[in-house]
Symmetry: C2
Subunit: 492 residues, 2 copies
């Protein structure tokens, strides 16, 4: 006892001494009213300074774990030794409740776990080439500017940042984003903005806010798998509308809209996940006109729309809707800037935002003020535009490299992706990318099989998504070569 303590380097020694003593008391190795070694003795036993021992004992006393008797020394406090000295507690420990949590869990909890791709997804050997991520490349992060933004904001209003904020969000960031959206052509009349913990919370809030009358949701097919998951978790039956080269198949959209009522539509018009397609401007207005005619509210996912490499500016759907209030725009800096900062936003009808604000308060009170204010200062310092320029150039380079490698090595049928962080490939219908994945995995290459993005079981078995943002040039070349060779071996 005592001399067996080992010290970690990441915390003050006196705290570790305290923790050690508490554990002895808890485990019953030290009993109530038992005398403790003196601070001098303990300093020798633990090979620590006398001062450290005194600090540890003083705090243990303050916290009620030990008590001092003048001239006699320190003793273990009666109530401190866990429940073990107590009759009732012993009883409780003898018969602790053992609940079957799986059986007691809600259907929602069980479904969330069943659909959790991180738990049932692709496992790769260490050292594999991973085309599965579409997170930004952290080598692009301008840490110096982030540090500066933090320190700038802390000196302006550090106390404010660390105390409670507002459910609606950090005011300067709200104002910044309203201006930002106005510059994308949005008519802000009758609209308002709420800050969320990234896209995911925004989507969740909106799904919970919209009353479900028909249990039916409409979306592109394929689409963002998290959106599919969350719509299913909310009990929606999902109708997918096929993607053409320039976005939604409008005839199919019209047919579906005419055939049954929908509670909502979820669309990713700019830089669609997983196909990377940017919906053509004329399709946008026509799709909006159709949905508007059937009074179906549209949840617009502004996913990565900043990341386009080139081409003319395309306005978001909510801009085309003018003064209408049928489009709910969800934005996020996570995919393009820093995913670790959980900041997204909802721009929508003022009344709806009012409801969402109360829901947000009931669920997470507010988004981290630190994240919001740091982001605000970073944006205000003008760093985002610089970062974006650098990021666009780098991702464009990788995009061109990946595209060239695919054309050279892979027997694909169609290839889509106007830029951004990934490409989407379709092979012949008879092809099975899951089979290809198994074979590639053994050679140290993994990608995302496309079927997970489809609204119906059995669809998209011949497709795959290749994320290249975090893969080195070398690995892009080597990995795509392996995918191509393996595909040819297996299917041709």
């Amino acid at each position: 006892m005592y001399s067996d303590i080992t010290f970690a380097s990441d915390r003050p020694v006196y705290i570790q001494v305290k923790d050690y003593m508490k554990k002895l008391i808890r485990k019953g190795a030290l009993q109530a009213d038992q005398k403790l070694p003196s601070t001098r003795e303990i300093s020798v036993l633990m090979n620590i300074s006398r001062n450290t021992a005194v600090t540890a004992y003083t705090e243990l006393e303050e916290e009620g774990f030990i008590y001092a008797v003048r001239g006699k020394g320190n003793f273990v406090a009666a109530g401190a030794a866990g429940g073990t000295s107590d009759r009732l507690s012993v009883q409780a420990e003898r018969e602790p409740a053992r609940l079957d949590w799986r059986q007691r869990a809600s259907d929602y909890a069980r479904q969330a776990e069943q659909m959790d791709l991180m738990k049932h997804g692709i496992r790769a050997e260490k050292g594999s080439i991973l085309f599965t991520s579409i997170a930004p490349d952290e080598k692009l992060f301008d840490l110096q500017n982030v540090k500066r933004a933090f320190l700038d904001r802390m000196s302006i209003e550090g106390e404010v940042l660390l105390n409670y904020g507002y459910a609606k969000g950090y005011k300067p960031l709200i104002d910044y984003l309203l201006r930002y959206m106005e510059n994308k052509g949005v008519d802000l009349t009758g609209k308002d903005l709420l800050i969320t913990n990234g896209f995911t919370e925004a989507f969740e809030l909106v799904l919970s806010a919209i009353g479900q009358r028909y249990g039916a949701a409409l979306c592109e097919n394929p689409t963002h798998q998290t959106a599919i998951k969350n719509m299913k978790l909310h009990g929606y039956g999902i109708t997918g509308v096929d993607m053409e080269k320039d976005g939604l198949d409008l005839r199919q959209l019209e047919k579906e809209l005419g055939s049954r009522p929908f509670d909502l539509a979820y669309l990713v018009p700019s830089y669609h996940n997983p196909t990377g397609i940017v919906m053509a401007p004329e399709k946008r207005t026509e799709a909006l006109r159709l949905l508007s005619g059937y009074e179906v509210p549209v949840i617009e996912d502004g996913f990565n729309e900043e990341l386009r490499y080139s081409g003319s500016h395309v306005a978001p759907l909510i801009a085309s809707a003018g003064a209408g209030n049928g489009v709910i725009y969800l934005g996020s800096y996570s995919k393009i800037l820093f995913p670790g900062l959980r900041v997204g936003w909802i721009l929508a009808d003022k009344e709806l935002i009012g409801l969402l604000e109360s829901m947000k308060r009931a669920r997470t009170i507010h988004t981290s003020t630190l994240d919001q204010s740091l982001l605000y200062q970073y944006l205000s310092n003008g760093n985002f535009e610089k970062y974006l320029k650098k990021a666009r150039a780098e991702y464009k380079r990788k995009y061109e490299l990946a595209t060239a490698c695919i054309k050279a090595h892979v027997p694909y049928q169609t290839l889509s992706g106007d830029g951004g962080l990934h490409l989407f490939l379709a092979f012949e219908e008879t092809f099975h990318t899951r089979q290809l994945l198994e074979a590639c995995k053994r050679k140290g290459v993994v990608f995302t099989p496309g079927d997970i993005f489809y609204t119906k079981e059995g669809q998209g078995g011949h497709t795959m998504r290749l994320g290249f943002s975090r893969v080195s040039d070398e690995d892009i070349e080597a990995g795509i070569r392996i995918i191509g060779e393996t595909a040819k071996e297996l299917f041709y």
Copy 2:
């Protein structure tokens, strides 16, 4: 046009020039293919440097808003001018969908707004003395240590902190908290820990995870009003068990448990909100034994348990439960440390944590890595213990001052609060604190009427909560004197 631009000081000028030009294009003041002033002209018109004008134009071109013709100048891009040049868009703008969001909202959304106390709560005149807050006093925040923690962590692994984290939480913080909870006497066998966005998300996740069989929840009466709100939002009927001086009325608890089945119990054993009562150790074990016997899972709110000024150490319920898995402990640093950092945690049965992890992923992906890592580094640097010592001393001083003032001036019947950030007063049953509040408000003093903490309408009308953490000594004295005088005028 152009010369009417005004510049804000918080953003680079070229960005403001870009924004201004975009707005002109959007609003139709500049039409498709219209020629723009040269960069020289614009620099004169806007009184900016030529370089700034060039940068702005270059980026407008990159973003597709304008195009350059060699030797001819810059022109507005065709697609950029919003939808206004487009037939379909004009149509959409003519008939934008106007949805009635209040009618389309879910019951949940409407209820969340109805129960939102921030919207329907007490409004006070500016300059009033506010006894309504129980947030920490920001003057106590050690900003230097927060800055140091941030910079320390950024230099260790800045890139990691800004990229995606894990739904379960930031590993070093999880490990730290497991050790922290073990030192409170918790048997970690079969348990695990999940990081959340503060207490509120933790509570929300747990409420969603527990399958509802009877629609019945049990709690102390009065109790934390956010907990009441959220249990109601989840459709629970709530049974309150009265509080005695040392915690729950155990006979009443036993009676209620015998009379009907419950899905869960929510308890705040340490430093109860709003009464400030710390449940006696023998009551804890007995309450746990009863709940365990009826197999009712307990959600333990570890609210502020670190804030006790004195007295012997009291173990949380989850420690008394030993190897049992019936207690779900919710912890948070928000109330005591920095509320702006949204970090809380759930310590519970491993299998339940697995389900909660998937739910967390589906709802908010993960808690801000920046918040988590900053907090971890702050804790590891040993700052928390120092802060706690300072905070405890300061709050104790205020507590004693407030208590003395109440005893001197207020005609109360019972006064409770073992410390922390607030006191709870009960007057004679015939007294109405809402009426008192109205009268005090006119004199510039507000407090929280106690009825909001009660599980049934009409209860607690004679009680109030006084939060003193953010009130200056002067205002504590002046405010309580006014409350006392007004109470005497009104009711005696």
